[in-house]
């Protein structure tokens, strides 16, 4: 594609100038997928990002044009453009931006034809609806509705659609009426240009739970090593003492050392043994 700024209308030139300016002002230039996000949600997300990131929606051709004029490795970002890409600018690093965007995600009602992101379950119990055609609509969508005590009630908890399956129109309407919002909506970071490198979404996704658990594991390793190697630290001195006493008690009881500190445990062990043998002899 030939890039002749001179032949572009003024508004396009202005947009390209803006993209170039923001690209130099911010440390990170990213592409986010806006697919399926209603305008209202976009407003909310913009508000949530205020002061942290700037979101610019423009045509892909203009983005490519601007990157081309900047030159260098940022042009590689163009290969990640999709039909619904928008630009995001921030001074945060790509990992922080990714998790920031994850946190701005909200739940939304499903539209017909969308894929269930997880098993969608309708719970047993009364609804707020009065008896009427709604019962038939719910039933046709596969939801076990009935009228009980003058109220529309779900008779049993049911998985109405499995993760990965399509949500048909009847079900989408029924779920919307029941105020069930199964869809995650939010900006998805497709790729980011930061400090000279491109970060793709797969390296940016961090499992927060797994990471938190790895901290616990690391701390456990240190605790275990300190105690097992008997290298006392402020954090483990008490545990070491406890371990030493446990060992001493264990040895004392095993050897039936009659010391006043452990005589109750020794008696208890003798009694337990007698009871065990009693069970055998009947």
């Amino acid at each position: 594609m030939a890039l002749y700024t001179a032949h572009l209308p003024q508004w396009k030139k202005d947009e390209i100038t803006t993209i170039k300016r923001l690209s130099s002002e911010y440390k990170l230039v990213g592409l986010v997928d806006m697919y399926g996000i209603p305008a209202r949600q976009v407003q909310d997300i913009r508000r949530n990002l205020r002061g942290k990131a700037e979101l610019i929606m423009t045509r892909n051709t203009l983005i490519e044009h601007a990157f081309g004029e900047i030159g260098g490795s940022i042009t590689d970002l163009s290969s990640h453009l999709s039909g619904h890409s928008a630009l995001i600018f921030t001074n945060e690093n790509p990992f922080k931006l990714y998790s920031m965007l994850e946190k701005t995600k909200t739940k939304m009602a499903a539209r017909p034809g969308e894929t269930a992101p997880e098993d969608i379950v309708v719970s047993k119990g009364p609804t707020s609806f009065r008896p009427g055609p709604i019962v038939g609509e719910l039933q046709q969508a596969g939801i076990p509705a009935a009228i009980e005590a003058g109220k529309v009630t779900i008779r049993e908890t049911k998985t109405v659609v499995k993760a990965g399956q399509e949500i048909n129109k009847k079900l989408a309407d029924a779920l919307a009426k029941l105020d069930i919002k199964p869809m995650d909506v939010g900006l998805i970071l497709q790729a980011a240009f930061y400090e000279g490198s491109i970060y793709e979404s797969d390296v940016l996704a961090i499992d927060e739970t797994a990471f938190y658990n790895s901290i616990i594991t690391a701390a456990t390793h240190a605790f275990n090593l300190s105690v097992n190697a008997a290298y006392p630290t402020r954090d483990t001195a008490s545990a070491l003492l406890t371990k030493a006493v446990r060992e001493a008690r264990g040895v004392g009881v095993e050897a039936a050392v009659t010391s006043s500190d452990i005589i109750d445990a020794v008696l208890g062990k003798a009694q337990a043994q007698a009871m065990a043998l009693q069970n055998v002899v009947g």
Binding site: K269, A272, L277, N279, V280, V281
Partner: protein, 69 residues
């Protein structure tokens, strides 16, 4: 239970558990011995692996209720 204690005592001391040894131990403790119970004990211990039986003794949390760490 005293008959079992006597048997365990003999077992731990590496002595044979028979009617007269059990009787001797019980008597020494001042217990009036019931001969048929002694016989029953000795008979029921026949073929029993005592070490194995007592190793199954449950852990006795004798001092209880430490605050969870």
């Amino acid at each position: 239970m005293e008959y079992v204690y006597a048997a365990l005592l003999l077992h731990k001391a590496g002595k044979e558990i028979n009617e007269s040894s059990v009787q001797a131990v019980l008597s020494a403790a001042g217990i009036a011995v019931n001969e048929s119970r002694v016989k029953a004990l000795v008979a029921s211990l026949d073929g029993v692996d005592i070490e194995d039986a007592i190793s199954k003794a449950a852990a006795a949390p004798v001092a209880v209720a430490a605050a969870p760490v």
